[in-house]
Symmetry: C2
Subunit: 512 residues, 2 copies
């Protein structure tokens, strides 16, 4: 059965009770390491982006592959749960891959091979020679220094300097296995005890809530205002701060995600000034998650970094301590599998920086191919170089596709009765609110499940579309919904919107 | 000045007091995040393999590069602090790199390019096609599933099954960013509170001590018997266990490193049986760090996995819960920069396994090039394939070089008066004991420094040889020494031994 001919199954075939977790805690402690003896902090940690709905989707995918899933009303899973562009068809940037390949190949089999020019353009060969020299004799096969290859960090510093118009130094750049690893290091260094709190937007990308659980620290969620396109307001920051204080917690840091994940909003300079002034006034370190900085789709909007704003605020923000994060997984490369990324430390105490260095050392270094890709991301081919034209065409195509799909998805979701959805101005997601029938909510609550988890499993099992329940990101009480990427092809997205609409109607009828 | 003509500097030019740390704690807390407010667990963590001696070496290297180091009695740093083979001249395995390059190149620029066969042998092209199919449409550019690409995990499972003669399943294999990341995940899941203890060999590779500090757990060190070639004895295990109990701690797990790092010993089947029986009797999870399993240099010795021994012990070890670790960074590939590796879970509670899965999910996946390399490591070219001859020659050369250098280094160190050194039967290190003059010990203690740290800095600053003080790995009270790799070229190692001998004589005279 082709994906195009998907139909919803009869109501009676829907699952009565989606599982909250695939594996139940072990009963009697026959083993040494059990639910009772293991880390309880890990048990409480949640990470919905790859949570129970996704595990169910992978289970169904295995059934489809083995033929067991023949009775299902779809023939493939459409993974909209994660920003993983190349998994759903986005092509890699050719030049980057050519240079990476030439960095990996032994010289005599690559850059020095007499036939190299038949496979590789001259600027890819030249760049690879330069990067091989920068990596030293061990190349991609050796541990680099802890913070990453010095020249690659200088490339990042030049990029930041150009982007912000304010000089940045390579010694303050740490290359990491994706932004996730960098965020983990910073939170590990920042949080000292269970009394420490970190201000985190709600909704948020769950690496923050997850790591804070694991570290045993307090998450002080500040609400984004959905009615104002997910605005950050000083009132909400203050409320979260005050609540944490009232609970006897000490707020240490504040996280912003710009552009927003899962919310897709782009923070203006004014808002950033507000947040920065708030951090300075309340002595909070700012963590700026800027991994979607290249992903602004809305004409007229543009990304401004927290670093640029802080520097340009002058004396008012002189005291700000800032960690900012970027990644090779998003943007126009979407090279998630390479686990490349960096963080930049702005005005961080040198002793604290030395301790973060020590923590990074214990993991030896970030994967060197990811480091090389980070250098390439911030130093793409420029006009006049042989690969520039192809690079420009490839990135323009990706940029256009993302903008189109953001529009298509948001418009499509808005047209579904019971759905509302802010613009996906940035990032890779739509985050609609969905009105659920009261009976569905009751039914879920009775089983101890989040209503939108029941909804997401129902959507998956009847259409093959895998999204993440909004409850996995946090949201206002009584709101339900999900996060979906807009990364699949335009045709697939159109089909997905149709199936989401059909499923919603059937779901509402079921619980009428 | 060439490295060959290195001479020791006059005694007066030696540093009076090597620094314990390069950066001192920040004085008044002008900043928000300071030595006082940051994670105190991170502050107590130590990681000597990239500690103060190495940071001093990197500082000197920068001086040499900038010309400031012209007065130094050497013209390069010989990094013997870390098992980083390709950084000191070991060549990568050609076939592996060719396949990795073809996995990264877009199909039309690589496997499907009309000139591909001019650069790549047919079996590399065929293998790359197979691996690309296994990775799916996103290839190396997409996040894989949390545990790693299913087919690559099956490759690992087949390798383990062949190695042990007992079937292993891919669902119990987690691919990771090097063994370090896997070890971090297991300790994070295992340790629940400050009352939990983990038995760790002394000396040990400091990722264990470092992570236990960071997790706030108790390290129960069991002494290896240096007089018996670093033997593990049940008496020492029992003593460590009893001490932990007496201190009110609950031992949860036991670590073995086989072959030993930094000790170079290879555990016999008998010893493994003893350790396993001890773990079963005392309800300890076993963590077997087997990253050097391919690095056994001593004729007549061979590696046996803890898993194989446990299975073959039958009923006596039926209850054993075992995590074992392997890596692409060591062995005959030495691909440290790729951060590839895996862990295998044997008889682990399914709920605990699901929680480790969740923890791995929050980091999304291991870098996919490292995953691909792990598959290649366990599935090299076989006889009859076009690349087999080159592969066999390359690996035989590396194997022979490592065996020769291990012998050369150990014999050379043993010949130095005041040095004693067990065989480096396995792994990549010698771990000599060095008799220090009592005055040097007093002098160091007076400054709050480990005597062998003073010694290592002195060696570095007078010869350019960078080793790690033995105190960074733990050792018996009153013992001093260092860990050095035997990875540099034979010529360089001969020179290093001579310089170590000259330095030792001068050091002893200085403190006579």
């Amino acid at each position: 059965m082709s994906a195009a001919s998907v139909a919803l199954p009869p109501e009676s075939s829907w699952p009565a009770a989606p599982r909250a977790q695939l594996v139940q805690p072990s009963a009697p402690p026959a083993k040494v390491l059990t639910s009772a003896s293991m880390s309880q902090a890990l048990r409480t940690m949640q990470y919905a982006v790859r949570g129970s709905v996704v595990q169910r989707a992978e289970e169904i995918e295995r059934q489809l592959a083995s033929g067991e899933g023949a009775a299902l009303p779809f023939d493939k899973i459409v993974f909209c749960n994660i920003g993983n562009p190349q998994a759903v068809g986005q092509k890699p940037i050719t030049f980057f891959r050519q240079v990476l390949a030439l960095c990996d190949l032994p010289a005599e089999s690559g850059v020095d091979h007499p036939s190299a020019s038949l496979l590789f353009p001259p600027d890819a060969i030249a760049r690879a020679r330069e990067m091989r020299a920068a990596m030293g004799p061990g190349g991609t096969g050796a541990y680099s220094t802890t913070q990453g290859v010095s020249r690659f960090r200088e490339d990042v510093a030049s990029f930041i300097s150009r982007r912000d118009g304010h000089a940045c130094e390579g010694r303050n750049v740490f290359l990491a296995n994706g932004a996730s690893a960098a965020i983990r290091m910073v939170l590990t260094a920042t949080v000292s005890s269970a009394d420490d709190a970190v201000l985190v937007p709600i909704p948020q990308y769950p690496i923050y809530s997850g790591l804070l659980s694991l570290l045993g620290a307090h998450q002080a969620g500040y609400m984004l205002d959905e009615a104002q396109n997910w605005a950050v307001t000083v009132e909400c920051l203050q409320a979260a701060y005050d609540d944490a204080r009232a609970a006897g917690k000490c707020p240490r840091a504040c996280v912003i995600i710009n552009p927003g994940n899962p919310t897709g909003n782009v923070l203006s300079r004014d808002v950033l000034e507000t947040v920065i002034a708030f951090c300075v006034a309340h002595r909070l370190v700012l963590m700026a998650d800027e991994v979607y900085q290249e992903n602004v789709h809305e004409p007229g909007l543009s990304f401004v970094s927290a670093r640029k704003v802080a520097i340009e605020m002058g004396e008012r923000a002189r005291a700000l301590e800032l960690f900012s994060f970027h990644s090779t997984s998003k943007g126009l490369l979407g090279e998630c599998g390479k686990r490349g990324g960096y963080m930049e430390l702005h005005n961080i105490d040198p002793y604290v920086q030395s301790q973060i260095f020590k923590l990074a050392s214990s993991g030896l270094c970030a994967a060197v191919p990811g480091q090389a890709l980070t250098s390439l991301m911030v130093r793409p081919p420029v006009e006049g170089e042989p690969s520039h034209e192809l690079y420009a065409r490839e990135t323009a195509d990706i940029r256009q596709a993302l903008a189109e799909r953001a529009r298509l998805l948001v418009d499509g979701l808005r047209a579904i009765p019971g759905f509302s959805c802010n613009d996906a101005s940035g990032a890779m997601y739509a985050f609609p609110a969905v009105e659920l029938p009261p009976k569905a909510v009751e039914h879920a609550r009775a089983q101890g499940l989040a209503p939108d988890e029941v909804y997401a499993v129902s959507l998956l099992e009847s259409t093959g579309i895998c999204v993440v329940p909004a409850s996995g990101f946090g949201q206002a009480a009584g709101r339900y919904g999900f996060r979906t990427t807009f990364l699949p092809s335009t045709d697939e997205l159109r089909r997905a919107v149709r199936h989401i609409a059909q499923h919603h109607e059937a779901f509402c009828q079921r619980y009428a």
